[in-house]
Amino acid sequence: MEKRLAPAPETYEQVTDLFDLDADWSSEQQAIAGRVRKMVDEHFLPIIGQHHNDETYPESILPRIRELGLLELVADDAIDPITYGLISRELDRGGSTLRSLVSVQGSLVMGAIKMFGSEAQKQQWLGPLGRLEQFGCFGLTEPDYGSNPAGMQTRAERTADGYRITGSKCWITNGVRASVAVIWAKLDGQVRGFLVETDRPGFEARHMHGKWSFRASETASLYLDGVEVPETALLPGATSLGRALQCLGQARYTIAWGACGAARGCLEETVKYLKERTQFEGKPLASHQIIQYKLAWMAAEITAMELIAKRLGELKAQGRMKPHHVALAKMNNCRKALEVARTCRELLGANGIHNEYHIGRRMVDLETVVTYEGTEHIHALTLGSTITGIKAFS
């Protein structure tokens, strides 16, 4: 019999894009997603395992993000929601910490400045933040006020030529290397947003060590001990807690897409493993019925997640995205991504807990993603109130 050349390995479309969703995007959107994907494959996946292990920051990825001009797109409003979503998905396929780095800088910090900043603030910060010459962080959560930010203790008081801010913030991504912090504080009982340069006297950022998850992400606690800022530090449009939550809505949008990427990454790696590894009379693990059953379900879940993200993107592009839309997408996609990661971890057997594979890291990082930017339960309550008309929280 005539032998043909062995077929090339299957493309990821066969594993994680069974509904051919990516084909719907414009050629620019596909090209951008492809560029980010390539950057992740070549420069992030080879190094991230070690950084996760050593609890160190993947510095070498920063020039690559700069080179792509990724955050510059965000800075000059040249990006549409779907493109931003696809970028988030591809970043998170590498690691949720990588997507977080970009989400915090792009959606929370630059987002707050773009939505609520003065012209002078936009002029001063968007350029350097977009080129990643400067980092920003977003200070909302406090040690005693996580899911209930309305109770925040951080206070701002008026001085002769500005404000004095006192309080503390925790779980602050990029907090250690930020040169500017968006700090939410109560001024005369009303939540307001301030842009605080982190070299002002009385400002301290402490690196939080000891996380099981998000180990390659720098998380800080911020301490503001009577930090004096000028009048111009106030974000004029950031007039209530609702404004802070609006920023989170933008970041949650990227998370809903990111979760699709994390799940895709797990399934791609698992399918490759199961086809290569043989057990029981030399048959690949992938040939067993119980394994195919699990793969089929994971592919179905990922398809559903992607459809939700796609719809969310359409709503956002049309200016129709409401908090309960984001809540549904964030709640569902993070939980499903975590379930996919855990199933994939199991399918890899003992190898699933080793850092030779990315699945274990993705799984523990997704534990963070399920919790941060509004826990699953808080999002469920938002949805509950939409569905029943009854608020189950105060």
Partner: protein, 258 residues
């Protein structure tokens, strides 16, 4: 100065190839398409020249509407505009017809300098750019690894077995590019977005004053086939004397080599 870069949309060589049942065409539904890699170097060289001396870089291609995707890549790298020769009669051309159409296109934009990859990685014909030079009566150099512009003269290095020529050509000229000449840049994401707004003009053969009949190929495609795998692996089990006997038997009876 206007620089034209001839580029071609080709299947990614990492794709899985299949031949249609007619054995005369490649099944394209599962193929991923890219810019022919040598053409990427040609685009890069044109953009470098534009950055150094100022120039208008026009990418020129012939193919279906989907060829615009690879043209957009060139625009995202820094080319200014595109010209696509497309429509009736363009899908069945051989190198001769393609060259005549591209020559007419290059003439219509008035380019003084034409870059192209040294060959396309799909059919490896290595002749379109040279034919364009002949049709337009331009000087040409192929497989170029170094390019410099000295006023109206191009100075190039051309690879040959074991060494290289240094050639001087008066403009207008056609230069085909070899890989080592540069490293093609990756487009930044903002430039990919901006490329969407750059113009790609379309012309039919008729627009260029050509007819499909006049460009009809002089050769006929008989059939296509996939490469065969020549090497077979056969591991013989057993103890050494048994393996030796089996090897001799195989060489005599199966392979008829002894």
């Amino acid at each position: 100065m206007k620089i034209a870069v001839l580029i071609k949309r080709v299947p990614d060589t990492a794709s899985v190839f299949a031949i249609n049942p007619d054995q005369k065409s490649v099944a394209t539904d599962k193929l991923k398409f890219v810019m022919s890699p040598y053409d990427e170097h040609a685009v890069e060289e044109a953009i470098k020249l534009k950055e150094a001396n100022g120039a208008d870089v026009v990418v020129v291609s012939l193919g279906p509407d989907s060829a615009k995707e690879v043209m957009r890549t060139a625009l995202a790298m820094g080319a200014d505009e595109g010209l696509l020769v497309t429509g009736a009669g363009t899908d069945s051309l051989t190198s001769k017809g393609v060259a005549e159409a591209l020559a007419a296109a290059v003439k219509s934009i008035g380019a003084e300098l034409v870059f192209a990859g040294k060959q396309a990685v799909d059919d490896d014909a290595s002749q379109v750019a040279e034919r364009v030079a002949e049709l337009l009566e331009m000087a040409h150099a192929s497989v170029v690894t170094k390019f410099e512009l000295n006023g109206g003269t191009a100075v190039v290095n051309r690879e040959i077995e074991g060494g290289s020529y240094t050639l001087e050509l008066p403009l207008p000229a056609v230069i085909t590019i070899e890989k080592g000449i540069n490293t093609p840049r990756y487009p930044t994401l903002p430039n990919i977005m901006k490329a969407k707004k750059k113009p790609i003009a379309e012309k039919s053969l008729a627009d260029l004053g050509l007819s499909a009949e006049a460009l009809a190929p002089g050769v006929v495609l008989e059939s296509l086939s996939l490469p065969r795998q020549n090497r077979r692996n056969h591991i013989i089990d057993g103890d050494t004397p048994a393996r030796v006997n089996e090897l001799i038997r195989l060489l005599k009876e199966e392979e008829k080599a002894l």
